[in-house]
């Protein structure tokens, strides 16, 4: 599985929605992710993708869509 696929898998788990065709959906404005789900996302990224994301690194505007998350994870690798 590629990183992008893994991220969509994690997001599907958290939001109950398949977002792989909707990479530019704003996860916060639509209410798909709340703070709790966001923390789960960071932890899942840590275990599934081996990328350490401290909470301070989490700037909402940089993580608000699936595409942005994928790009951000690449830069942190």
């Amino acid at each position: 599985m590629t990183d992008a696929e893994k991220i969509y898998e994690i997001l599907k788990d958290l939001t109950d929605e398949d977002l792989s065709e909707k990479g530019d959906t704003n996860l916060f404005e639509t209410g798909l992710l709340d703070s709790m789900a966001t923390v789960q996302l960071l932890l899942e990224i840590q275990t599934e993708l081996n990328v350490d994301v401290p909470v301070s690194e989490f700037e909402r505007s940089e993580w608000e869509t699936p595409n942005k998350i994928i790009a951000k994870v690449q830069t942190l690798k």
Partner: protein, 404 residues
């Protein structure tokens, strides 16, 4: 010596804008006049904390030296690639101690000693804790005393926020905006300034100075109403008047602070975004006193849940979030002050948001069966508004006066 409280009268605005004129001209030409800006900031700090408030000035100086030493010391420690949890926790505790002392002092009325407090200490503490946490996370790697002081003592927001973030502030401070952006900033600054006048000095004044004493008097006259509980129609009127006053007064103040920041080329974040139009409590906290609630979200709620989940101390996600809400709002209550009504206010909001979450989960599960139309939306806004106003009635401390 004169003393001027921030945004308290027209003179303050006249002085502040003329004092900032060289800064504004400098920024128009793409330059930040750092030395002049530091001097004028110092002058305004002396206006606020000097004169008959000199004891606050001394407290501020002592507090600032202490926090700078702590932060620079910790930054130095982290640069040596050391990262012990015990050191980090000690730093956080030390950083909070002055605020804790100030908040606990009123509990001991016998104490007539020197007061450590000064206007804005609780807002400065948000900034110091935030920087320590980011040093721990490694998102802030180095810190200079001068930049840190500018961030901490940024005078437009020193007394009551909005609470900015170090990296965000520094980006604006070190990179003066391009001319077209700055002109837009000025445009907004003027708008916010007049919006602030409308909110604080017209609507807020009418509600707080004219209406509030009247309803206070009437509601206190009904102490024996409703079986001795004091619940009367006048109390309801007090609840609405106080809630609206609280919003217009604080939102007005925040607009002043944001306006002056924008004049100085610093885009201090917004504090309010139509809070009374929220459809539920969760949304309310994304719209009300936003820089405070986002601070709590990022530095208490998210860290707490992260920590619990990482160590797997609790499995159930719903329970974790409920516990985190409780911790989050309880700390917020204590931060407001150690009185029963601030703490109950915190617990009330924790309870409200937990119930809100139950409802949101229920709604998601039964999406097809629950109607959604204009009426349900208005009803949601109405219900949220009333729940919020009731929480402000608790917060106001009026029940304390009514009952005890």
């Amino acid at each position: 010596m004169i003393n001027l409280q921030p945004y308290s009268n027209p003179t303050y605005f006249a002085i502040i804008l003329s004092g900032l004129l060289p800064v504004i001209i400098g920024l128009y030409y793409g330059k930040r006049l750092k030395i002049y800006e530091s001097l004028i900031s110092l002058v305004f700090l002396i206006f606020t904390f000097g004169g008959n408030h000199w004891h606050q000035g001394i407290a501020l100086i002592g507090y600032t030296i202490f926090q700078v030493l702590l932060t620079i010391g910790y930054a130095h420690y982290r640069q040596q690639k050391k990262n012990q949890t015990s050191v980090f926790v000690t730093m956080i505790v030390l950083s909070i101690i002055p605020l804790a002392i100030v908040k606990l002092t009123p509990l001991f009325p016998a104490n007539h000693g020197f007061n450590l407090g000064f206007l804005g200490i609780s807002y400065l503490t948000f900034k110091t804790v935030q920087v320590l946490m980011e040093l721990r996370d490694g998102t802030i790697k180095e810190i200079s005393a001068s930049q840190y002081l500018h961030f901490l003592l940024f005078f437009p927001t020193i007394s009551s926020g909005p609470i900015d973030r170090y990296r965000r502030f520094l980006k604006d401070y070190e990179n003066p905006p391009a001319r077209d952006v700055y002109l837009q900033n000025i445009n907004k600054a003027v708008f916010y300034l007049f919006q602030g006048f409308l909110y604080k000095y017209i609507i807020g004044y009418y509600l707080g100075t004219r209406l509030l004493p009247v309803v206070t008097h009437l509601a206190l006259g009904q102490r024996l109403a409703f079986g001795g509980t004091g619940f009367s129609w006048y109390l309801l009127a007090y609840m609405y008047v106080y809630s609206l006053y609280l919003f217009f007064d604080f939102a007005g103040y925040s607009l002043f602070a944001i306006s002056i920041s924008y004049f100085m080329g610093i885009q201090t974040p917004q504090n309010f975004n139509k809070p009374f139009a929220s459809h539920n409590i969760k949304e309310f906290w994304n719209r009300w006193h936003m820089t405070l609630s986002f601070w709590f979200r990022d530095f208490i709620f998210m860290r707490f849940t992260f920590w619990i989940m990482k160590h797997r101390w609790l499995k159930n996600r719903v329970r974790i979030s409920q516990l985190a809400y409780l911790v989050n709002f309880l700390i917020m209550g204590f931060w407001h002050g150690v009185t029963w009504y601030y703490i109950v206010y915190g617990l009330f909001h924790a309870g409200a948001i937990i119930i809100n979450d139950y409802w949101l989960r229920f709604k998601k599960k039964h999406q097809d069966k629950i109607p959604h139309n204009r009426f349900t939306e208005y009803f949601a806004i109405f219900l949220t508004f009333n729940v919020v106003c009731f929480s402000f009635l608790i917060f106001s401390g009026f029940l304390d006066k009514l009952w005890f």
